[in-house]
Every structure is written in structure tokens, then in C-alpha cells.
């Protein structure tokens, strides 16, 4: 295995991680900061991808598609928050689980109702397609480089918002004691609608960006949702920094595990068995990673509380 | 001199640069109430945490009834007969007052692993719980959900739960806090009678109660024991007056 290949795989892992971060960031905002388990986050990812696909198909512009993904997901998020989620802050996590599970059903089948059962088309814009030659002779898809860049910018922006602005402080205060922050004069309901929409928009952005290199189809959100949960739990709930580190860890483990574990097993068994044992282990690898992290640090890498 | 029932030796606990306990050695003898007073943030709750096992000391040891319990769990220490009340009420909010009290009684009869028989059919247990509720004056609130109690009522319940344990020694973190003047008076009288059954290490800011009850007083400031002595000695100590009591005590 050549050094170039290894570097390329690490890049792939980073890119996968950065994309996961976009998804996880929204989730950790809503989930950690607002104390809400939002299983429907994956649906917002799907909404973003479908909006982007529909609008870019109609207008031929990928950027317009992205904008509409942000808008559609944010709008969907705001509406959902005002109609449903708002009534759930006071209830325990279990009611939230059931309600957002119901939302998944509604979103998924509703989308199928609107768009039919077949995947939609969404492609990379011409100006980002094809590979770029990196130093060292590595050929790497330009689009994926762009994804890394977008992810990093969003990460920084979010961190500043949550940790450094008064808005962020108030959001976190609301998570600690909603009634109290309201009694101090902060309109927490409006704030929460805003945050929910922001988280939704991030999910929608992730869905649209990733949709261009994947299949835009009903149910695309659920596998990513699980991964995003893994990410924020590894990182520690509510911590943007944790989500970032967790996302990179998961991205790298997933990518590198799939490649290197089978290779590793080739030292012990015949190639066919090594392939299949290695591949099975690779699919478990992020879950093994997560349980090891949690056994070692029960509140995640950067988490303060349970 | 009688053997102390509870003793700490050189307990030290640091939180980063802050030394919350700085070589604290303190003891509790049978039949006495030993009050620990000191400014806010002096390290009183930290000391109690180390005695009960919720805070792991960096140095030093805790001895209870002659055993070194420094490495034992909270539950194990409680099992040996160390009763505790919390500074901030720790109660099962969804349960009734009686259920909360029964929980305490349960441990003393060590029957939590009985899976079949209903607790409410255990007359012994219920009687003990009721007795404790009676003592703190919550009998008429027996069936109220804990979440429906006022703050002061919760403090009363907090004490009741500790009473059901029939411990060998008590560690109480501000039991008077939140009680009204009348409640404080009643609890003072009650603790007064309790000391013969189980000595009490009492952390309290209510000086009326402390002066009325304490056999000995230790003053803690910045993690260190500043002085230990009788009520009169402590009241007269000029250092204590400036560090803690203020002029009108």
C-alpha cells in the first residue's frame, strides 16, 4: 500500500468526518443545547437534499439549489418547532423520542407522496467537478475539497456563535433552566425556534451538499442520523468542539477501518475470509469506537454532563 | 477520652489551583454534636463529601468506627451506619413523602432485594417511616407527591429520611436551611435529643441553632481548621468573629 494511497484515504476520512460534522452540529445544537432528542433531524437532511434536487433541476443552478435547501430545511424546522416540538420541552425525553419518530414517518412518506418512490437527480456543478491535483501527485475530487472547506467554515462560525456571543450564552442558559431564563426577560420560545431552524438549516445544507454525490432518496436521512448521534455522543453532548472531534474520529475510523481491517486480516487468514471478516468488523468499528470511548469517559470526550 | 466514632486525618482536596480542603483532621465522639462552621466556600460541603464518599480526597484518610473507609463506596459507608442529609434536597420528586421515607427504612432492614412482597405490606417498615415523619411534622403530608411540597417541607422530609436510617453517626449539611423560624426551633429541639442515639457532625449557618446545640465547634476557613473549641471559646475568638460571625453575634 503506497503512501499516496494512505494519504488519500486519510483525506477521504477527513472529508467524511467534516460532512458528518455538519449534520452532527445541528443535532448537537438542538439535542445538547435545547435538551431535545430530535430523531427527525435526518428528515430535515432529506428535505434539504430534495429541495436542492428539485430547485436545481428546475433552474439548472446548483447554488440556487443550495440556497433553497437551506431555506426549505429552516422553514420545515421552524414550522415543526412551532407546531410540535414547542409542546415537548417540558415533557421527558421519551415523549420527544416518540413524537420525532412520528415526524420521521410523516416526513418520509410525505416526501414519497410528493416525489414518488424513485431517487432524484442532483449533481455536482460543472465548476466543481473532476479531480484536482494536490501536491505529491494526489488526484482528489475538487468537490470533496470544497466540502471540507465549507465544513470547516461552518464549524468555526458555530463555535463562535455558541461560545462567544450573548445569544449563545442565553441558549445554553435556557438549556439549564428554561423557566429561569424566561424570568430574566429572555424570550426563550423565539430563541428556540431560531435555534431549531438553524440546526435544521445545517442538516438541510449537509443533505444538499452530500446529495450531489449520493443518492437523493426517501430514507436517506436515517443512516446519517445514527452516525450523527454516534458523533455527538463520542464528542460529548452539547459541545460543538466535541462534535467536530467526534465527527473526524468517526469519519476516519469508518473510512480507514473499511480499508485496513481486511488488509490486516490477510496476515492471519486467506484473502476471501479476511475480506469478509474484515468487512464485518469494519462495519462494527465505529460502534466499537463509541462504546470504548463511553466506557472510558461516560460523558464523551468533551461532555460535562449526562 | 472516648474513641472517636468518625475521624478524618489530613484530608486534602484540590480543585485545580484551589485547595478546598487543606489537611483537615476532625473527629466526632459518641454522644456529641460537633458543629462545623465557616464562611461560604470554606470547604464544608467538600469535607462532608469526602467523609461520605462522593468526593475522593487527594490525600488523607477517613475512619469510621475504627475502619479505614477512605476507599469504600458511598453505599458501603452508608451500610456501616453513616447517615447523611444533603445541603440541596435530594428526593425522589415523583414519589410520595411516604415512599421517600420508606426508602431510608428499607436499607436498615436490608431488604431491597426482596422482589415479590409489596413494601406497603411490611408493617415494620411503614411504622418506622411514619415515626420519622411524625418527628419532623410531616405526617399529614404522607401521601403528597414530593414535587408538590414547598421548599421548607422538602427540607423537613430530607431530615426524616435520614432519621429512618437509624445510623451510628450523622453528617448533616445545613439541615436548618429553608426551615422557617418555627421549624428551626423544632428541629433544634429534636437534634438535641438525638445526640445520645447518634452523634452528629453538623454543618450549619444558623448560629442560634449551632450555639444552642454544639458541644464543640470547629471553624473552617479556606479549607483549614481555624479553631476548635466550646461555644464560649469560639464566640470569644476574635479571629472567628472577623472571619465569620461578624460583629453582632
Amino acid at each position: 500500500m503506497s503512501a499516496v494511497l494512505v494519504i488519500e484515504q486519510v483525506l477521504n476520512g477527513l472529508q467524511a468526518g467534516v460532512m458528518l460534522f455538519l449534520m452532527a452540529a445541528g443535532l448537537t445544537l438542538i439535542f445538547g443545547v435545547m435538551g431535545l432528542i430530535n430523531l427527525a433531524h435526518g428528515s430535515l437532511y432529506m428535505v434539504g437534499a430534495f429541495a436542492a434536487a428539485a430547485v436545481s433541476a428546475a433552474t439548472g443552478s446548483f447554488l440556487l439549489g443550495l440556497v433553497s435547501a437551506l431555506a426549505a430545511a429552516a422553514l420545515a424546522g421552524a414550522v415543526v418547532e412551532m407546531l410540535v416540538i414547542r409542546r415537548l420541552y417540558a415533557s421527558d425525553h421519551l415523549d420527544q423520542v416518540l413524537a420525532t419518530f412520528a415526524l420521521i414517518l410523516i416526513f418520509s412518506e410525505g416526501t414519497r407522496w410528493l416525489y414518488g418512490s424513485f431517487p432524484l437527480y442532483l449533481d455536482i456543478p460543472a465548476w466543481l467537478s473532476g479531480p484536482t491535483r494536490l501536491p505529491g501527485g494526489i488526484l482528489y475530487p475538487t468537490y470533496r475539497l470544497a466540502l471540507i472547506a465549507v465544513g470547516l467554515v461552518v464549524a468555526l462560525g458555530l463555535w463562535v456563535l455558541i461560545e462567544r456571543t450573548r445569544l449563545g450564552i442565553r441558549i445554553r442558559a435556557g438549556e439549564n433552566d428554561r423557566e429561569m431564563i424566561a424570568a430574566l426577560g429572555v424570550d426563550i420560545s423565539r430563541l428556540y425556534t431560531l435555534i431549531f431552524a438553524l440546526g435544521a438549516a445545517l442538516a438541510g445544507l449537509a443533505g444538499a451538499l452530500v446529495g450531489a454525490i449520493q443518492s437523493v432518496q426517501v430514507g436517506m436521512g436515517e443512516p446519517v442520523l445514527i452516525l450523527a448521534f454516534v458523533v455527538i455522543v463520542i464528542g460529548g453532548i452539547g459541545s460543538i468542539r466535541g462534535a467536530f472531534v467526534g465527527a473526524l474520529l468517526v469519519g476516519l475510523t469508518d473510512t480507514l477501518g473499511g480499508i485496513f481491517l481486511p488488509e490486516l486480516f490477510k496476515f492471519f487468514t486467506d484473502p476471501a475470509t479476511a475480506q469478509s471478516v474484515g468487512a464485518s468488523l469494519a462495519s462494527m468499528s465505529i460502534y466499537i469506537l463509541m462504546s470504548l470511548v463511553l466506557i472510558w469517559r461516560p460523558t464523551g470526550l468533551f461532555g460535562a454532563r449526562a | 477520652m472516648t474513641e472517636p466514632i468518625l475521624e478524618t486525618r489530613g484530608l486534602t482536596k484540590r480543585f485545580g489551583a484551589l485547595v478546598a480542603s487543606d489537611g483537615v483532621s476532625i473527629d466526632l465522639r459518641p454522644g456529641e454534636i460537633h458543629a462545623v462552621i465557616g464562611p461560604n466556600g470554606a470547604g464544608k460541603s467538600t469535607l462532608i463529601g469526602q467523609i461520605c464518599g462522593t468526593v475522593i480526597p487527594d490525600e488523607g484518610s477517613v475512619h469510621f468506627q475504627g475502619h479505614d473507609v477512605t476507599d469504600e463506596t458511598v453505599a458501603a459507608r452508608a451500610g456501616r451506619g453513616l447517615g447523611r442529609t444533603f445541603q440541596v434536597s435530594a428526593l425522589a420528586m415523583e414519589d410520595t413523602v411516604l415512599q421517600n421515607t420508606l426508602l431510608g427504612a428499607l436499607s436498615a432492614s436490608s431488604s431491597p432485594w426482596r422482589l415479590w412482597r409489596s413494601v406497603l405490606n411490611d408493617r415494620d417498615l411503614v411504622a418506622r417511616a411514619d415515626a420519622a415523619l411524625g418527628r419532623v411534622g410531616l405526617s399529614d403530608r404522607r401521601a403528597t407527591r414530593c414535587a408538590d411540597l414547598s421548599h421548607g417541607q422538602r427540607r423537613q422530609l430530607e431530615v426524616a429520611v435520614a432519621l429512618t436510617l437509624s445510623p451510628r453517626a450523622f453528617v448533616m449539611d445545613e439541615p436548618m436551611a429553608g426551615l422557617g423560624a418555627e421549624g428551626s426551633k423544632a428541629l433544634t429541639a429534636f437534634l438535641d435529643g438525638l445526640r445520645d442515639k447518634a452523634p452528629i457532625l453538623l454543618v450549619e449557618h444558623d448560629m442560634d441553632a449551632v450555639f444552642a446545640l454544639a458541644d464543640r465547634i470547629s471553624v473552617l476557613a479556606e479549607g483549614r481548621i481555624l479553631a476548635t473549641g466550646t461555644v464560649a471559646e469560639i464566640r470569644a475568638d476574635p479571629e472567628v468573629r472577623t472571619a465569620y460571625l461578624g460583629e453582632d453575634a
Partner: protein, 228 residues
Amino acid sequence: MSLLALSGLTAFYGSSQALFGVDLTVGEGEVVALMGRNGMGKTTTVRAICRMIVSKGGLTFAGRDLHGLPSHAVARLGIGLVPEGRRCFADLTVRENLVAAARPGPWDEARVGDLFPRLAERRGQRARTLSGGEQQMLAIGRALMTNPRLVILDEATEGLAPLVRAEIWAAVARLKIETGMAILVIDKSVRDLARVSDRAVILERGATVWSGGINELTPAISETYVGV
């Protein structure tokens, strides 16, 4: 005209009634003590004022009917709450606790720091790890950061060392004199209340049973209603 006026206020927790008719006024710059035994409805009254619980009856602040307003709007009218049990934002630092509440006015971080130097020293520490007394100071500082016209102190000296308690009472007195802030105060120490308050209102089983000037509060009355 009174800044805060409650008349015949009733309130329920679910189906059980907690307030049966509370009458209470606080005038501009006035310090009023709210007294009563454990569980008599003092905190419930406060919660009703801050619109944390549904209530009926007369409830006005600065001439505005508070019924119909959400909690945050009441706070913005100028009511600062130091709640029972402190309720600091446990995962936020001291500074963040203050910033979260801040609204423009004379009270800012620096001024709160002057009032409670101990807090200033612990600006970066998470509220969860503060000692009880430090948390209490933080709760008061936080309420002041909203620059209120009326501060409500519900058991604000609970768990404080005598010296600090004295400091807080001194601070209350200073607030009264220097800023003319109106204060509604609940505390278990009748002695301390008598020293800072202008008037007192006593609750018994959710209803006002006595009110009058602090000088009229005879030992007999306080023996009857408060037990000392």
C-alpha cells in the same frame, strides 16, 4: 400609586389551590417583607407575579395588568427575580450567568463585582462548582444585571454565613437608599426583615392575614403567624 399591586390573587397547582386571596402592594422605592410559615404560599405568590404559574385576580405592575403577559415580558417590565433555591445556570460560568441576564442600565458586571468581590474572583468558574453561598450571590447579581425596578428576593440569605448574610442585608439597604429600587423580600429571619423593611405582609394558608407597617409588627403578631 403602587408599583406592584396584588388583590384577591388566587392560584392553582393543577387541581389543588395554593393561593386563596393574596393582597399585597409594593410602592416605588419601598421594601416589603412577605412572611409566613413553611408552605403558606410565599413562593407561590412570587411565581404568580413572575407569571410562572396561572393565577386570577388583581395583578398589576406599574399600572399594567400582568395577566396575559408571558414570563419574559414581565421581567422586561422591570421585575428581577432571585428565586428560591438559587437556580443558577449550572453549566455556565459565573460571567456567563451574568451576561445571560444583562440588559442595559447602571448595573453591569463591574458593579456586581464590586458588590460581591468573591464572584469577581471566580468569573471563569462554572456555577455548578460554586459553594452554596457563592451561588446565592450569583443569583442576586444576575437579577441585578437585568436592571430591574423591583427585585424579588425569595429566601436570598438561605445557607449564607452570618457575615455574608449581614453583607447581603447591607447590600439590600444600600440598594434601597442609593437606587431607590423597590424590593419584595422573603426570609426566615424576622429580626433581619424588621431591620430593612418598611412594611410587612403575612400569609397564612395562601391568603393575606395581616399587613401593616413594620413598626406595627408586634412580637405577639409574629408569634401567632410565624412562630417566633
